[in-house]
């Protein structure tokens, strides 16, 4: 599961949905993998305003990744004067699209439920009493 996806995923329980603590989910015993993806500058640009940068920083810290800049990069930083992709764009691409959780758990900060991740797929099936 890409870090991009983790920046949007919340706890599935109804009682958690509206609480701030249910996002972001916290990785536990996570094994990371690096997956090569083609650079898609327009996609990254499209996603930028939708990212929750605070959550992104939390994720990076919890996964032991290098510290992220304090503020969300802005669209102007993605390309230089001649329209070439900048290092900022490449770094974002690596972080969001190529860094993924291969296995481990995702824990809700509100209810404590642990969602297992195997082969990159998170199990979000809830027993009916938890729905």
């Amino acid at each position: 599961m890409k870090l991009l996806t983790l920046n949007f995923l919340t706890c599935a329980r109804k009682t958690c949905k509206s609480t701030a603590a249910a996002f972001p989910l916290h990785p536990k015993e996570a094994e990371l993998e690096q997956v090569e993806m083609e650079l898609n500058p327009l996609f990254v640009k499209n996603m930028l305003p939708r990212l929750d940068w605070e959550a992104m920083k939390t994720l990076a810290t919890e996964l032991g990744l290098p510290n992220l800049p304090a503020e969300t990069p802005v669209a102007e930083e993605l390309a230089n004067e001649s329209g070439e992709p900048t290092q900022t764009l490449r770094d974002l691409h690596t972080l969001l699209m190529e860094t993924a959780i291969a296995s481990g758990k995702l824990v809700c900060g509100n209810c404590g439920h642990e969602y297992a991740v195997k082969e990159g797929i998170a199990n979000f099936l809830l027993p009916s009493h938890m729905v």
């Binding site: 898609n40 327009l42 499209n46 099936l125």
Partner: protein, 274 residues
């Protein structure tokens, strides 16, 4: 032919054997690809987008999203949800690009508000009408699903769900649930009144223009109908056309029912609405 939905719950129906058979059948792959392309045309996305694929299965629909060229506004990035671990296993084997969740869309859509540019669902949501246990109802599951989908789409976002309703009642149950969740909604029928009829539920979150997309596609229907005419060598009137309405009205009148007088507006296209 019996419907798989009436035989078993989806996670049991799509077991390892069925998932492999489904994913490797070239007939199925072609049909799913056609419907996905149709849904994409209806979504009319201009930029590389983040798309939610509901009931993504083995990624037959998703891989088409990844393959949209830059000239056509792609490639898109998708996140899939499916209840069958075997289907997702097939997707892993085929090394598709999207992220996937093992999840029941009838339990909701676990993403924060405004996450996705768009959503598609190909041949999946009719399954929501089969509630497997006594503590959940189809209505309850449809509500969870559409409420969650609505919230997860950004403003102006669209969703297109191709589905196989069992009957008119099921079709209405589904479309009404979508409307209750707040969507602007319309149903597009391809190849109406044939055994290959396909239903596309086209949904928009405030500000999106469903009618524009559907109206444009209706022209394609007209051409489809003409093509059928030629093949069969006889006149086929398009459902909803003036000729069709006039004939239906005559039928209804013959049965003693009260029908509206025909006017110059009869059979004209209106805004899509229920």
């Amino acid at each position: 032919m019996s419907r798989p939905e009436d035989i078993l719950p989806p996670d049991l129906f799509y077991d390892d054997a069925e998932s492999r058979k489904y994913t490797t059948s070239s007939r199925i792959r072609n049909i799913q690809a056609d419907m996905t392309n149709r849904a994409l045309a209806l979504l009319d996305l201009e930029h590389p987008s983040l798309i939610l694929d509901l009931g993504c299965g083995s990624g037959l629909s998703g891989e088409i999203l990844s393959d949209v060229s830059a000239e056509e506004g792609g490639p898109h990035t998708w996140v899939g949800m499916d209840i069958s671990a075997s289907m997702l296993g097939q997707a892993l084997e085929r090394d598709t690009d999207g992220d996937m969740l093992l999840a029941d869309i009838g339990q909701g859509v676990p993403f924060r508000a405004g996450t996705f540019d768009a959503a598609i669902s190909i041949s999946a949501i009719q399954w929501l009408c089969n509630a497997e246990t006594s503590d959940v109802s189809p209505e309850g599951r449809l509500k969870r699903f559409f409420d969650g989908l609505y919230a997860s789409l950004k403003r102006g976002g669209k969703a297109v769900c191709q589905f196989y309703p069992k009957n008119t009642q099921q079709r209405n149950l589904i479309s009404q649930a979508a409307i209750k969740a707040g969507f602007g909604a319309g149903i597009l029928e391809d190849d109406p009144e044939t055994k290959n009829v396909k239903y596309y539920l086209v949904l928009s979150v405030g500000g999106g223009d469903v009618t524009g997309a559907v109206r444009e596609m209706e022209n394609v229907d007209v051409q489809d109908a003409r093509r059928r005419e030629r093949k069969r060598g006889k006149e086929v009137e398009r459902k909803g056309s003036k000729a069709w309405i006039t004939r239906k009205k005559a039928q209804m009148e013959a049965k003693g029912k009260v029908v509206k007088n025909s006017s110059k507006y009869t059979g004209r296209r209106r805004r899509t609405a229920f």
